[in-house]
């Protein structure tokens, strides 16, 4: 049996990941494994470390201890001769460019049009020719249903439209992994659906996704696995259709009773 390595290693693997801000320990030994092509939802009360974990995965934050691998490679370090060598900025930027991130507050580049928001990373980071970047950007804008808005500035769009552009901007980098940090929490209720629809499409296309969310309906419908974080540790995990229906831990039971 010679299964290719790629198919077996998980896309994201965390073992005992720790992270502190000063005296506050936000992550206290997190274990997690995300298979390729799967959707993983992270839920938990605010301050439980969900966002921090996500930010450690693309190295926006440096984890203090533990092992964190993306696509089989250590995040931010290289293991050689029994030592860990910190990667330089250029290597980290290259790694990060293949991990898409969608933020709660969209963070579109305010001074650029919708089209430029989606092309800038392709041209400046990936070195794609401008024409090709525009073609690709229009494809992606069509996919999120915003072709007509390409000349608009972010401030002229609704929250839901901005978040869809943000998803297109991340996809333009041809990511192997997409991270969503509460992508619908800053949206008016009637705009949540349009963003979740785009995310569902993306999940169907086989993208590996980690989604920090409070949308239990989305988790139940789309996620392959679900992790419940509380006070910096994974309190419970498993198939969302089982975990959400029959929570075992008291903490998850009390959390769900508040959000559902």
């Amino acid at each position: 049996m010679t299964t290719p390595m790629v198919a077996t290693t998980p896309m994201v693997e965390a073992h005992g990941v720790h992270k502190s801000y000063g005296a506050v320990e936000v992550l206290r030994g997190v274990d997690l494994s995300v298979a390729r092509g799967e959707v993983t939802c992270l839920i938990g009360p605010s301050g439980s470390g969900k966002s921090t974990l996500l930010r450690c995965i693309n190295h926006l934050e440096k984890h203090d201890a533990g092992e964190l691998r993306v696509d089989g490679h250590l995040v931010g370090y290289e293991a050689r001769d029994g030592k860990l060598y910190e990667r330089n900025d250029k290597q980290i930027c290259a790694e990060r460019s293949r991990i898409g991130m969608v933020f709660q507050r969209f963070n579109l580049f305010q001074h650029l049009t919708v089209l430029d928001n989606v092309t800038i990373g392709q041209v400046k980071v990936r070195g794609v020719a401008n024409d090709a970047a525009v073609v690709r950007a229009r494809e992606l804008l069509a996919r999120v249903g915003l072709v007509a808005k390409e000349k608009n500035y972010p401030s002229q769009l609704s929250g839901g439209q901005q978040q869809r552009v943000a998803i297109a901007r991340a996809l333009a980098m041809e990511p192997k992994l997409m991270l969503f940090d509460e992508p619908t929490s800053a949206l008016d209720p009637e705009l949540v659906g349009e963003v979740l629809d785009v995310m569902k499409d993306l999940a169907k296309s086989g993208m590996t996704m980690i989604v920090v969310t409070h949308e239990m309906g989305f988790a139940r419908e789309v996620a392959n696995s679900l992790y419940f974080l509380d006070q910096g540790v994974i309190e419970e995990s498993g198939n969302p259709r089982e975990v959400l229906v029959n929570p075992r831990s008291a903490r998850l039971q009390s959390f769900l009773s508040k959000v559902l």
């Binding site: 693309n58 926006l60 900025d89 250029k90 930027c93 290259a94 990060r96 460019s97 293949r98 991990i99 898409g100 991130m101 933020f103 507050r105 969209f106 963070n107 579109l108 580049f109 305010q110 001074h111 650029l112 049009t113 800038i120 990373g121 400046k124 980071v125 990936r126 500035y153 972010p154 401030s155 002229q156 943000a166 901007r169 991340a170 980098m173």
Partner: protein, 335 residues
């Protein structure tokens, strides 16, 4: 009642009597001021001439403000070449101020303590001493250092050798003195612009794999410009006027040219008016330019950019025209 038809109720506006009185007082005061500006005074001399055998004499009068002298010197060669020096000095000193100021602002935000502390000390020193003193200081720097050599220490490698006595001509002194001083102020303006950009913008740029320098150039600076431009416009206008201090290092700029002329002909007020008028003209041009630059960098920040003066004028004219064509119907209100 939003009707405009025959059944509209007439609304009588409040009469602001106080406003009319205040307007009248100001109008009279302005008229008196304008009158003195263009009044004539006796010179104490008498001019006589003979015609048809009779001798006629009448006192000689002159513009109180010497407008004929103003007009005569307004475009004289000395004044115009002084103006040119003022403009050159403003442009070069501001170019130094803006680029060095931006560098110092970026140094202030550096993670390296020594780098950021150096930037802080620079600002502290140059903001903490009068620019007039700094100009005199640079003018006399040759008393401390005669030459400056650029090279690598300990290696006997030399790139350039500058004789400071020869370098610090009046113009160069003014450029260095004003430029270095301006950099201290510009660095604070640039820093306020840089830190005004939302942290989320930096995170987003980082998350798509931009390096720190790409993030600075492509994302932070263009957005910081919106905050940096208006005070920079003020600084340019302020610099234009501060160049008049270059008189301290015997540079003949606009004001210097005016003083040179009046020290010869004693027409002090008219020549000060000539210089002032030129300062006013240039600052007006600069303010207009500033408006359009600000409008350009407001892209994306405002849903609709503010109207240009021409657009505003057109709208006003349209508004007034509409008032007249609709006659009394606007006096009747839509309440």
């Amino acid at each position: 009642m939003m009707t405009n038809g025959d059944d509209a109720v007439e609304v009588v506006p409040v009469r602001h009597v106080g406003r009319y009185v205040a307007g009248f007082v100001v109008a009279v005061a302005l008229a008196m001021l304008v009158h003195t500006l263009f009044s004539k005074v006796s010179t104490g001399q008498v001019s006589c001439h003979t015609s048809a055998g009779a001798r006629h004499c009448h006192p000689v009068t002159n513009w109180r403000f010497g407008w004929n002298v103003v007009f005569h010197y307004f475009t004289s060669r000395e004044i115009l070449s002084g103006l040119l020096v003022t403009l050159e000095l403003t442009a070069i000193a501001m170019a130094i101020g803006i680029s060095l100021g931006l560098l110092i602002a970026i140094m202030r935000l550096s993670h390296n303590r020594l780098v950021s502390a150096t930037a802080w000390v620079y600002t502290w020193f140059f903001r903490g001493t009068p620019v007039y003193v700094q100009l005199l200081f640079w003018f006399n720097i040759a008393a401390l250092y005669q030459t400056v050599t650029f090279g690598l220490p300990f290696l006997n490698v030399t790139f350039a050798h500058i004789n400071l006595v020869a370098f610090f001509t009046p113009f160069n002194t003014a450029v260095v003195g004003l430029g270095l001083n301006e950099a201290a102020y510009m660095s604070e303006i640039a820093r306020s612009g840089l830190i005004s950009v939302d942290e989320g913008q930096i995170e987003a740029a980082t998350s798509i794999g931009m390096t720190r320098s790409q993030t600075l150039r492509l994302v932070i600076l263009p957005q910081a410009m919106r905050v940096i431009i208006p005070p920079t416009g003020n600084e340019i206008i302020s610099m234009l006027k501060t160049t008049s201090l270059a008189i301290a290092v015997s540079l003949v700029e606009l004001l210097g040219a005016a003083t040179n002329i009046y020290s010869a002909n004693y027409e002090i007020m008219p020549l000060l008016i000539v210089a002032s008028l030129w300062y006013l003209i240039v600052t007006t041009v600069l303010s207009t330019g500033q408006f359009y630059v600000e409008r350009h960098y407001a892209k994306g920040a405002l849903r609709t950019p503010p109207p240009t003066p021409i657009q505003r004028l057109r709208n006003d004219v349209r508004g007034i025209a509409a008032k007249f064509t609709s006659g009394r119907s606007t006096a009747r209100a839509s309440s």
